[in-house]
Symmetry: C2
Subunit: 289 residues, 2 copies
């Protein structure tokens, strides 16, 4: 009912967004934010729908954050479709879209950063130095600007989700951090804006990530608990795929992301794989079912 009272707005100025959020909070309304880099796919839309069900006011942010891209990464070519994103977000019941310019977020002289230490080190943290510092920083800024009670992230970026949950707790943000399940294509490929980079043969090869996860899950469900055996099962379908090259495949505690030698508590099997030049990530949590 609140959604119908709020006009749909696209906001570009941080100060304007913040003023909106402060007024909504003073009115006692519960705010949910879904931070995105745009180019929305059904995975994002599942986050928006989850947010719609959990709050009075739903804010989506669209910002391709330069500080989380490395110098040789795909910032310049990251896919964008602002007009389409706005339309999709509106259809999912978003009330406010915040899509600022880079200059408004990182003005001249900018120099403040947030780091989450242990959780940022392994996996994508070691493959992409500085990436998680960029993520923690932009999420901090977006939290301050949109003033949410609850924030929703996808679990495809599992390490990001775990890091933001820890950051919210450590820095007393007082924001409930929710991680939603991975949304997949019919054949199992995890939804990702970067899937747009894939040629037809690469799109087919990209299925090896899902096949690896399924193979390891099958071994786990048949009783295997040893990390090396589970990792072998996960790696095999990827190593058998000509266009694919493993960046990492790792099994780690689902909360601390510390290495585990055998699965006695929930563990995340996480992988990053280059398919052609496109780096894809995927994961599955073993031990929760």
């Amino acid at each position: 009912m609140i959604a119908s009272r709020l006009p749909f707005e696209v906001i570009r100025q941080p100060s304007t967004m913040r003023a909106w959020a402060e007024n909504l909070r003073r009115d006692g309304l519960r705010i949910c934010v879904v931070p995105t880099m745009g180019y929305l796919h059904p995975g994002h839309l599942s986050l928006l729908r989850a947010g719609r069900a959990r709050a009075d006011v739903l804010i989506a942010t669209i910002f391709v954050n330069p500080t989380q891209f490395g110098p040789n990464e795909d910032l310049a070519v990251y896919p964008r479709d602002e007009e389409g994103d706005i339309e999709k977000a509106r259809e999912c019941g978003v009330d406010l879209i915040f899509c600022p310019d880079v200059e408004a977020m990182y003005p001249q002289g900018y120099q403040s950063y947030v780091t989450v230490e242990e959780l940022s080190r392994p996996l994508c943290g070691s493959a992409r130095p500085g990436h998680f510092r960029g993520v923690a920083t932009i999420v901090t800024k977006l939290f301050h600007i949109t003033q949410p009670h609850i924030a929703i992230f996808g679990r495809k970026d599992y390490q990001q989700f775990a890091m933001i949950r820890q950051m919210s707790r450590d820095l007393d943000f007082g924001i409930e951090i929710v991680g939603m399940p991975i949304v997949r294509e019919a054949d199992g490929l995890a939804m990702s804006s970067r899937n747009a980079y894939l040629s037809a043969p690469e799109r087919s090869a990209a299925l090896c990530l899902y096949r690896g996860l399924k193979a390891a899950q099958a071994r786990f469900h048949s009783g295997e608990r040893d990390s090396l055996a589970l990792l072998d099962a996960a790696r095999q379908p990827i190593e058998d795929t000509e266009l694919a090259r493993i960046d990492y495949v790792d099994l780690r505690d689902a909360t601390t992301l510390e290495l585990v030698t055998s699965v006695s508590r929930p563990a995340v099997l996480a992988m990053a794989v280059f398919v052609g030049k496109t780096r894809l990530i995927d994961n599955a949590v073993l031990g929760i079912d």
Copy 2:
């Protein structure tokens, strides 16, 4: 009038403090926070009175923050007087005192930190590695917990003030950061909790910092703009003092803290001096009068 409506409370739990702050904000009240490490002296009390005049609700925080002390610094012996502090704060019109335990602020597994890069590097940043990361982190936490509209700091810790002002802007805290003038003893010594460490001869020697600042100011007012000449004037009284040893004496842009070779815009003459084993800091801004 608001002060008389609020019961005076001493709060130890972050979640309790945060709930108070959220309710006060929802009531449309303007919150001011004055973060301190306790052992309140007239310098602190001037901050509290300034805060009392600027907001509906005045919160003082008392927390000796371990993450801003180096391994060989004075954390264990830092002076404390919680009962006296509470009484003094109450007399200055403080509504709520937040004094958490270390375990509540840094629980097991804590790993998130805030850094402000350029402004943290020179001066005390180079003398005390990690100090400003600790300060930026605890101030971020205290801001999140107390939800202020305005926060007041003393300019004796000039670099800290400049760093927090930058952090608040960079990370979109939306908090007005106010820096109040240094409060001095009758003979000119800057008020500091660490003055309690000084023996009688050291207390007398400690005046050399103020004498150095006055000497440089006199040269500045008589037209001297060259950094080396101004720094010479500042160093002379300290070098002439047997119990004193210079850690640094530096002249830097008052906003960016970059070195200046001559004063054409406001510049801060900042110094850290060991008097016996006690490290004292002081500063004066040249160019604003």
